[in-house]
């Protein structure tokens, strides 16, 4: 299926916001597109327009040869006609139906036998064995999320739309399910659009990401590109993480792991479960710069490198360092003056183990 989703819409919320979004998504290689932005950036509105639950004032949405919305042509197809899977933030499970009732809900067109087969398939796929007769209220947050996915997937949608799929879960469950959701999306090979404001989620789930703010698309690219090379200060501020590098866990002991990143070894807090392939993420504010290797400090990671660029950003200065991989540090102007930081200068970057975040990475080859 060499289809393509094209979105080019405008929708005004008088006095608040005008969403103007234009992007396309190839569905040939089923990929996961992340719509990323702070709350109020219009990402949910875009998703709801795609789902047919809201209507743009202007513009069009196409899925391959199907026109879902085109204000110029006067076309607007209802959600029922789009054959997609939409999962809202709070999962919206039907309280009057059991788990299997929820999964079967959208399968009215199938024969009884086929429907039962689908339910069984979904229960297996999402490991819901034993909960078939339970009511949604009796399930844990993680199970509810899986039932919501099962209900959506049972219809074999052409496109999956997930609105903040993990935000309703508590933190430990969220980090566990993030990896599971990624594997599931890859296994299903259904083109998916995921809305999130969580950079870890964007990195773990997305093949591509679109950064939005106040209804406008600011940047588009792979998550790694966007995080490492934000187009401007605005994007950098929204994504909130400046260094993202692929790495590999080589050792794990006592709650600490050693990660190899471009021939450098970094110590991070974590366990083997996230790995072995990970993204190593470091906030620019968490990096301490020194000019000489002083004695022992509490920072577990100390990387010698060369300053590549010095870029003032308001009260702070962003310092790009090459230490085997490129690292972005954020320091004050006076620190830059005191340390005589200029391109070519030698510098040591000190990073505490707790400031090195690890996000599971899947090889998408």
């Amino acid at each position: 299926m060499a289809a393509e989703v094209t979105v080019d819409i405008a929708k005004a919320f008088p006095g608040r916001l005008t969403v103007r979004a234009s992007f396309r998504m190839a569905c040939g290689l089923p990929e996961v597109l992340v719509l990323f932005g702070p709350s109020g950036s219009g990402k949910t509105t875009i998703l709801r327009c795609l789902a047919g639950l809201e209507w743009p004032d202007q513009g069009s949405i196409r899925f391959g040869d199907d026109v879902w919305v085109d204000t110029a042509l006067g076309v607007s197809r209802p959600p029922q006609a789009r054959q997609l899977g939409y999962m809202s933030q709070d999962y919206a499970l039907f309280p009057t139906y059991s788990v299997s009732g929820n999964i079967a809900y959208g399968l009215g067109a199938l024969s009884e036998c086929e429907r039962q087969q689908r339910i069984n398939d979904m229960v297996m796929l999402l490991q819901l064995q034993g909960t078939e007769d339970a009511r949604p209220a009796q399930l844990s947050g993680g199970q509810q999320q899986r039932v919501a996915l099962a209900r959506v997937l049972a219809r074999r949608p052409r496109l999956l739309l997930l609105d903040e799929p993990l935000s309703a879960l508590d933190l430990p469950t969220r980090s566990k399910l993030r990896g599971e959701l990624r594997s599931l999306l890859k296994q299903l090979a259904i083109p998916s659009i995921v809305v999130t404001h969580d950079w870890e989620e964007a990195l773990a789930l997305g093949d591509r990401m679109v950064v939005l703010r106040e209804g406008r698309v600011l940047q588009e690219g792979t998550p790694q590109q966007v995080f490492n090379r934000p187009l401007d200060a605005e994007v950098a501020k929204i994504v909130g993480i400046e260094t993202v590098m692929p790495g590999r866990i080589v050792e794990a002991a006592q709650g600490l792991v050693t990660v190899e990143v471009a021939n450098q070894k970094l110590v991070a807090i974590g366990s083997e479960e996230v790995g072995p392939d990970v993204f190593v993420c470091i906030r620019a504010e968490d990096i301490l710069l020194e000019t000489v290797l002083i004695g022992t400090t509490s920072a577990r990671n100390r990387l010698a490198g060369t300053v590549r660029e010095v870029q003032p950003m308001g009260a702070l200065v962003r310092v790009g360092i090459d230490c085997g991989f490129s690292l972005s540090a954020m320091v004050t102007r006076s620190a830059v003056a005191d340390l005589h930081l200029s391109p070519g200068a030698s510098v040591v970057a000190a990073i505490k183990a707790g400031a090195v975040h690890l996000v599971p990475r899947h090889n998408n080859a």
Partner: protein, 224 residues
């Protein structure tokens, strides 16, 4: 005790409830889900019988269905006799009189249904019509039962409208409340007491059943 009047009253109340469920559900659905800006006009019309004196309502209904009105003339040519002072006329008046008692609990129940569930249903490919029966109605049973029972109980006790539109015809339009009035007028307090007690017991029993079944806050008014 006047069993004929009791029979007429029960038949009237049951038919009124039934008709109100059939026409009240779609109307309540529209009232809950429409975003039409003039919707409040319809809402106030629906609520009108709550505040209007029954005699006023009865008077207007009588005029509207009387032989001089267009509707009255149409009905007479269609059926062969005029509508006032017949059981059908009384039924029509009862339906109008109990309208808010059915429609408002229905609408309140529909409004309690989370819109996100309805949207989820639509995106699962289920039509609006089927969503109504598969999702909205099962989630609103308490409100639907409340509306049906309230309109039933309300019709049991109506007096002013019946007198205006139905008159007092034995076996046709003489309801329990009119029978009680007649007995009292004839100074037959013993007969009135029996019938009154019967009405009290039936009404109380019906409400008891609803409360026991719902065990929830009784939402007569839509909650915004």
């Amino acid at each position: 005790m006047n069993w004929v009047a009791i029979g007429v009253t029960l038949k009237l109340a049951m038919l009124t409830s039934l008709i109100l469920v059939v026409i009240g559900l779609p109307l309540a659905y529209w009232l809950s889900f429409s975003r039409w800006r003039w919707k409040f006009l319809a809402e106030s019309v629906v609520a009108l019988p709550l505040v209007l004196p029954p005699t006023v309502l009865g008077f207007y209904i009588l005029v509207a269905i009387g032989p001089r009105s267009l509707f009255g003339q149409f009905y007479t040519t269609l059926v062969g006799h005029p509508l006032p002072f017949t059981f059908e006329g009384l039924l029509l008046a009862s339906v109008l009189y109990s309208f808010p008692f059915a429609v408002q609990p229905f609408a309140a129940a529909f409004e309690q249904v989370d819109r996100r569930l309805i949207e989820a249903s639509w995106t699962l490919g289920v039509s609006r019509w089927t969503t109504f029966f598969k999702l909205i109605v099962p989630m609103s049973t308490a409100g639907i039962v409340t509306g049906a029972v309230l309109s039933f109980a309300h019709t049991l006790g109506e007096f002013g409208v019946v007198l205006m539109v139905g008159g007092n015809i034995e076996g046709v339009t003489r309801t329990v409340s009119i029978d009680i009035y007649d007995e009292v007028q004839a100074l037959n307090y013993a007969g009135a007491a029996k019938t009154a007690l019967f009405l009290l017991v039936v009404s109380y029993g019906v409400l008891l059943g609803v409360y026991a079944m719902n065990r929830k806050v009784w939402a007569v008014w839509p909650q915004k």
